[in-house]
Amino acid sequence: MSDSFYEEPSAPGQTGWRAWLLTTDHKRIALLYLWVVLFWFLAGAAFGLTARTQLMAHGQHLLTAKAYNAVFTLHGVIMVFLFIIPGIPVILGNFLLPLQIGARDVFFPRLNLLTWYLYVAGGLLAIGSLFAKGAPDTGWTFYVPFSLSTQTGVTFTVFAVFVLGLSSMLTGLNFITTVHRLRAPGMGWLQLPLFTWSVYATAWVQLLATPIIAVTLLLIIVERVFGVGLFDPARGGDPLMYQHLFWMYSHPAVYIMILPGMGIISEIFPVFSRKSIFGYKAIVAATMGIAIIGSLVWAHHMFVSGMSDVAVLLFSFLTFLVAVPSAVKVFNWVSTMYRGSIVMSPPLLLALWFVFLFTIGGLSGLVQGAAGPNVHIHDTYWVVAHFHFVMFGGTGFAFLAGLHFWWPKLFGRMYDFKKAYLGSALLAAGFLLHYFPQFILGLQGMPRRYYTYLPELRPLNFAAGIGAYIMVAGLLLLVANLLLSLRRRRDAPGNPWDATTLEWQTSSPPPRENFLAEPRPPAYPYDFRRGG
């Protein structure tokens, strides 16, 4: 067994921190991302927990209204732009996409490093916005004219998101090119593992949709700094135009967030069922279908905005169509287990939770897509519950499942299973106690972004707060358990789960150029007949 990429830096001759900060190795860049993204994830969780603690009692006690507005804005901006949009692609995508297609690196290795610096710069700008003129208080949506008139440092925040968008676009460009140009000989499109397919579909959305928000955010800065009337009705601008432009990116961004997570789940079910994924081509088609139709549903965020009823009709219709490919995926995942030979493991447990929670999240979205019921629940806690079920119950659980699945590949070390099971159970139980009451609060008419509420809503808000603490305890246990494994000996085998995709053909952790021998792509990526 030769040295891994940890022993052989990618810029030859570099040592110490230079071997990391100047690296062009996709695996080292993935790890650079891992630590920074993990930092932001925990920071975002801390802000979320603070907000929920405020809501455990009625009235102003822990936070003033102003402070609460800053806290939920920071929670949203961090979780959306610094964790969940980049998260899975830049960490697991970066590390695994080249391995899964039998490549030595991504197509543009130096561009890859640049995206990390842009990402870090975006994060620093977001921190800077706290000290500019007071923490931003617009919510992550930066709606005009509020965002134009607020005195807080929102110009900085908006610029931070612009820089993060640039990073995201370049990552998308890099992954698309890599999949087109660097597949190993013998790896056709229908031999691609489903995780690679999902990151590929995501990359297109990143590349095509991100420029819209980048330009829109620049327009906000232009209007704030130079007073040009673009969106502010007092200056002759159009606030609905802003909402259209914002959601034209931010709704496809929802699919940037969920598609890579779905890709992870599509890898985990076959491996632990010892059986081929059910309906490989259907899942590929559903993945591309979601990416395409998902780009045409943005105005379902705007049913009560004042846009025309014809637009409501059209976008409600398209929204129901986009639900179908997600349902198809769920059916295929569950059918993969049928007549399998299932072995339980922490990644599988997290994947099972994913299916349960994501299904609830997706189905609750149907209510929102329906024009009449949407009017009642729009901007209430129903919506908050819905998107946390999808984004956290979905993408968040998939991210954790993926980390547990590929951790031995990333670090060559296996973690403790018992703590992982306990952490997952706490996380899921806390999650349900935390978010389920929010559906009811929404139906009772509690709007979101309220620092307090009508007194009769206290019991459910209090219960949700308890759930939040249990959930965060589970999360910390899972992360700590993974980190503790790094103190162990590096003794995980190349293929600890007996998986079939290419990344498992090489050692754990992989050597600098990924494969010592020329990788041999299987004719079908999920053929488990060979035994094992």
Partner: protein, 197 residues
């Protein structure tokens, strides 16, 4: 309006009922497979890679169900948009962080809207500053109030009583406190109130 509320709630219940059934089916299948096909009961997995007929079925059937949900949702939405004739028109002006209501005879009232029982009310919305949203959970109505764009909502106050009007579009530090009372009174009480200086 009773009718409109019923329609909106019926669309909601229709969607929820299907969703619950589907969630139950998916979860039950998942848990059953997990135990029935675990390694020690089923050491050899079958080599099944898919089934075109099943794929077709679980693409088409959900599509039809989803389209029926779309239809009921749209029908109930129309009810919320079509104002009956003879509605009482009230201007609601939103501002940071209050609501002012203007009546046809020029009467103004802040943070209190009084309407007569049994007559449809059309609320014409506008804003003096940022975007707000007029929300009455009891009547399932919500509509954004903007500067420079006229929007409206309507409801039928069928029974007397008091409801909350909330702001549903985030508008700053007073957002959660931007409430008003909606008092539904008998037509006589309304006339007395609206006529008083």
């Amino acid at each position: 309006m009773e009718n409109v509320i019923r329609q909106v709630d019926a669309a909601f219940i229709y969607i929820i009922a299907f969703s619950m059934a589907l969630l139950l089916a998916v979860t039950a299948a998942m848990v059953y497979f997990l135990f029935r096909y675990r390694r020690d009961r089923n050491p050899e997995a079958a080599d099944i890679r898919g089934n075109a007929l099943l794929e077709l079925a679980w693409t088409l059937i959900p599509t039809f169900i989803a389209l029926s949900m779309f239809y009921f949702g749209w029908q109930s939405y129309l009810g919320l948009r079509e104002v009956p004739r003879g509605a009482l028109e009230v201007e609601a002006i939103a501002m940071k962080f209050s609501w002012v209501f203007k009546y046809p005879n020029g009467k103004r009232s802040e943070k209190l809207m009084v309407v007569p029982q049994g007559r449809p009310v059309k609320v014409n919305l506008s804003s003096l500053d940022v975007i707000h949203s007029f929300y009455v959970p009891a009547y399932r109505v919500k509509m954004d109030a903007l500067k420079g764009l006229k929007t409206y909502a309507w409801f039928l106050p069928a029974r007397t009583g008091t409801h909350k009007i909330l702001c549903a579009e985030y508008c700053g530090s007073g957002h959660a406190d931007m409430m008003a009372d909606l008092r539904v009174v008998t037509p006589e009480e309304y006339e007395a109130w609206v006529g008083a200086k």
